[in-house]
């Protein structure tokens, strides 16, 4: 239970710490929550589900406030804790780190995210899904660019609209099964007529498509990413996005499996359109942050299409790709923010020759570009290889469209890197990376390489929980080949 309560306590404690010590407190707190998560990992056997809060009192309306984790959600918890500590480390030198309000909001955010991944009850999942919306909104509002009211409103309302769709589906499922607990929802033999099942899965799809963002629902994403502060963009792109993908794996498909079959190809087409669409637009973007935002739309479209196939291999490679996308998102947006904080400009045409002035930054930014272009020995290579294989097996044409991400990805990433880094330097000085920035880049690249070389360690960890979901599935039809 400490796993979830700890971030709340830190969030409140952040107000009591004097201004100067807040940034040390932030780092120490994030690392200690990571240590707690690792403690849970130490004696965790991937086979069975561990409950951290399991009140056996029957609550009205079928609500059961169960919390617990299995292989899949523990990986996500570890991802959240490590990414939050990396964000605070990256933020260490900026003046924002001294801000008590900012640190407490980040910890509130972490608590909400942990809640989402640990919830074993439909309503609890939905509650934490909405809770995370508040701190990120406040971070973006107070610490982002000043004139971003309309952008923020669009972001908040967009996500809220989606989550209300999910609420409707949860209500429908929960009340017809008389309980919101995950095990009852998933294994209830309740027969939903196909048409309604399709509507329920559309409710879930609306919420997740807006959050991911899938193709037509993505208009909020680029503008929000550019006006947000660095930590805000990282939280949004590296962690909030994963809530939606995790939600698809754990909640959307198992609960409304019959409904998914009808909209399966819709999502795959949306995903693959997103891949090409994001990549093509990213090619001609001027602002480096919008460029990375569209890049992340393209990366994520692939993952979403992979998840919907719901085969053993596609799910595991989707999880690897999720972790890889978090690493890439944090790395790229960190680099974009370094450029913006040191030169004040984000338009890549105005930048140039930074690699000559700051060779260390040039090297590490190159490393991140290669990780994002998924060169061998990085997690992206394995993830994309397997995902495109699954898509290719599902339908050869979708495979071909998905594989364009390799070529187009190289085009826009290298263009961004080369226009900003190479050529004659256009600015007088650009001081090189400091110790904490190098540490962040090093951590990201090393973890990408480690996962790239031995993805098996994650796959074994996650496999039993996917099989568990499949056995519990309605009708237990064993479709995972």
């Amino acid at each position: 239970m400490i796993l979830l309560v700890l971030p709340f306590v830190f969030a409140l404690a952040a107000f009591l710490i004097p201004e100067k010590l807040v940034k040390y407190f932030g780092l120490v707190a994030a690392l200690s929550s990571l240590a707690v998560a690792l403690g849970h990992l130490a004696y965790f056997n991937p086979e069975h589900l561990v409950y951290i809060f399991n009140p056996n009192k029957a609550f009205p309306m079928g609500l059961s406030f169960k919390m617990g984790y299995d292989g899949l959600s523990l990986t996500m918890v570890l991802l959240v804790n490590s990414i939050v500590s990396i964000i605070l480390l990256a933020n260490y030198r900026k003046e924002l780190a001294e801000n008590k309000l900012f640190t407490s909001l980040v910890f509130f955010m972490q608590a909400g995210l942990l809640g989402v991944f640990l919830a074993q009850d439909g309503m609890l999942f939905y509650t934490f899904w909405e809770i995370t919306l508040i701190p990120i909104f406040l971070i973006l509002y107070w610490f982002g660019k000043q004139d971003n009211n309309s952008v923020l409103l669009k972001f908040f309302i967009y996500t809220l609209l989606g989550s209300l769709g999910m609420l409707l589906s949860f209500i429908f499922l929960g009340t017809s099964v008389q309980s919101f607990a995950y095990n009852d929802l998933i294994s209830s033999g309740l027969f939903i007529p196909a048409k309604i099942a399709c509507w329920i899965s559309c409710g879930f799809l609306l919420a997740f498509a807006i959050k991911i963002p899938l193709f037509p629902f993505h208009t909020w994403q680029p503008s929000t990413y550019t006006t947000a502060p660095m930590a805000g963009t990282m939280l949004l792109s590296a962690l909030m996005l994963k809530m939606a993908l995790f939600g698809m794996i754990k909640w959307m498909i198992p609960l409304t499996f019959t409904g998914i079959q009808d909209i399966k190809w819709l999502i795959i087409t949306l995903g693959s359109i997103g891949i090409v669409y994001g990549a093509v637009i990213a090619i001609k973007q001027k602002d480096i942050k919008t460029l990375f935002a569209y890049a992340s739309i393209s990366h994520v479209g692939l993952i979403a299409a992979g998840i919907i196939l719901f085969t053993q291999l596609s799910l595991e490679s989707a999880i690897i790709q999720i972790i890889n996308h978090s690493i890439v998102a944090v790395g790229l947006f960190f680099a974009a923010d370094i450029i913006e904080s040191r030169t004040g400009k984000r338009n890549i045409y105005e930048l140039g020759g930074i690699a000559k002035l700051a060779p260390r930054f040039g090297f590490w930014f190159a490393a991140m570009t290669f990780v994002s272009v998924s060169v061998p020995f990085t997690a992206g290579f394995i993830g994309e290889f397997l995902l495109i294989k699954e898509l290719f097996v599902a339908h050869w044409f979708v495979g071909i469209i998905a594989s364009t991400t390799l070529v187009l990805g190289a085009v826009y990433m290298l263009r961004a890197y080369q226009l900003s880094m190479f050529g004659a330097p256009k600015m007088t000085q650009f001081e090189d990376l400091k110790w904490n920035e190098i540490l962040v880049f090093a951590l990201l690249t090393v973890s990408a390489i480690v996962i790239g070389i031995s993805p098996q360690c994650i796959m074994n960890f996650v496999k039993p929980s996917i099989e568990h979901i499949n056995e519990l599935m309605v009708g237990g039809l064993n479709f995972i080949k």
Binding site: T127, L168, T175
Partner: protein, 448 residues
């Protein structure tokens, strides 16, 4: 029953004490009276009341919790309004007297068993509020508001009575149980009965402020003072809603197929009209009035299921947030809190107000961890079986509402603004803390 008597007596004493021109004394007397009424109402089952009981009033268990809610809210309103009332010394006692008498009417409305008591309760509740609305004599707006409220109110009473008369004509009795028995007996109810029911429905829709009859509420809310408005927006609305649900939920439920169609249209209209016309509002009170209309639409959802528990939770969330917001607007009286532009940056400069405003608006918008969400969730999950379109439209309208509230919160939290630090009186702080506490943890009541 005894709580009613205690409140009435405190009202009388309060009026007499008022002559001695000591506002604090009248405040303490009314607070004392309210607390003792609260306790009496809490344990009304466990002792034999000295006054004997009168079959015209019986408080069912669900009625009981509503009565507790109403008394609690009046307590909060009385406390938060004290700063304003003590400004003109002679009239502070009048405020308290009128509010307490109106509260008696509200309690009668919560416990009525026949139309006779129902009509009396309604009138006892409404007439003091006509006066309260127009209490600021020299202010033209408040006199105009009280005129509008008086005439629309009495017109609605006329219609109500006409409805009661017709129902009496058809069923021959005023008592609700007998009516419900006769309704269930009739295989095909006489036309007069249905017309009477429709007239009563019309009067109720006026009292509650649903769409075709909602025109009075924005004007009257804007014209009246903050304390009176919070009283009208909470206590009057709760009492009206409760009696609406008892009448149309259970008693006349059998003839339900007639008015469900109409009610659905009314609810959908009040959803959208409330939030949409609030979008362009620049006056804080009118904004709350319009959002009140939509929330009434939401509350009316409980008529179909007749489920008092979910109605209670929803109203708890709604009233807690309204009281909190109105107290904040009273607390920052200095900067003419009626115009929204003056609210800019208040939240950033004094964080306590910021947090209160944030939580109350989020609870109104229905963001999960807060009571507002659970109220809506319970209502929606009760109704999704046979009113699916209604539920979907409710969700869509709550998105517009969320947009509305959020834009306000953004305005309140603006960073660079010339707002300055405001010190809040102790009374206001206590009220704010209680109402925010209720907004956050109010929903845990469903666990016990």
């Amino acid at each position: 029953m005894d709580a009613l008597i205690v409140i009435f007596i405190t009202g009388l004493i309060g009026l007499f004490v008022g002559m001695m021109k000591k506002p604090v004394l009248s405040l303490s007397i009314s607070v004392l009276g309210l607390i003792s009424a609260f306790i009496l109402m809490l344990y009304y089952k466990s002792y034999e009341s000295p006054f004997g009981n009168y079959n015209g009033l019986n408080f069912t268990p669900s009625g009981n919790i509503f009565a507790l809610l109403v008394i609690g809210l009046t307590l909060l309103i009385v406390l938060s309004g004290f700063n304003y009332f003590k400004k003109d010394i002679e009239h502070t006692a009048d405020y308290y007297g009128l509010i307490l008498f109106s509260l008696c009417g509200a309690l009668i409305l919560i416990g009525f068993t026949n139309f006779f008591m129902f009509f009396l309760g309604l009138e006892i509740m409404s007439i003091p509020v006509y006066v309260l609305v127009g209490i600021r004599k020299q202010n033209t707006l408040s006199s105009e508001a009280s005129i509008k409220y008086f005439f629309t109110g009495s017109f609605a009473t006329g219609i109500l009575l006409f409805g009661i008369a017709l129902v009496y004509g058809a069923s021959g009795t005023f008592d609700l149980n007998e009516i419900s028995n006769s309704v269930s007996i009739w295989k095909e109810a006489p036309a007069m009965f249905h017309v009477g029911v429709l007239f009563i429905l019309a009067a109720f829709l006026f009292k509650v402020g649903a769409v075709p009859f909602h025109f009075w509420s924005p004007d009257v809310y804007q014209g009246s003072t903050d304390a009176v408005m919070s009283y009208m927006a909470t206590v009057v609305k709760i009492a009206a809603l409760y009696s609406f649900v008892t009448l149309f939920g259970s008693v006349l439920g059998a003839s339900g197929n007639i008015y469900t169609g109409i009610l659905e249209i009314v609810i959908i209209a009040s959803f959208f009209l409330g939030y949409v016309s609030a979008l362009k509002q620049s006056n804080f009170k009118r904004l709350l009035a319009y959002s009140g209309i939509s929330n009434t639409g939401f509350a009316l959802l409980s008529v179909f299921t007749g489920d008092f528990g979910s109605l209670w939770i929803f109203l708890l969330g709604y009233t807690a947030s309204t009281i909190a917001l109105m107290t904040v607007s009273q607390a920052i009286e200095k900067i003419d809190s009626e115009d929204i532009k003056n609210w800019k940056g208040i939240g950033y400069k004094n964080p306590f107000i910021g947090v209160v405003v944030l939580i109350s608006f989020l609870s109104l918008a229905g963001i999960p961890p807060l009571t507002g969400f659970f109220g809506k969730f319970l209502l929606l999950s009760g109704n999704y079986q046979n009113h699916l379109t209604l539920v979907i439209l409710a969700l869509i309208s709550s998105v517009i509402g969320a947009f509305l509230y959020l834009r306000f919160v953004i305005n309140v939290f603006a960073k660079e603004s010339h707002a300055e630090k405001i010190c809040i009186g102790p009374l206001h702080i206590t009220v704010l803390i209680i109402s925010t506490f209720v907004s956050i943890f109010g929903w845990t009541i469903i666990l016990f």
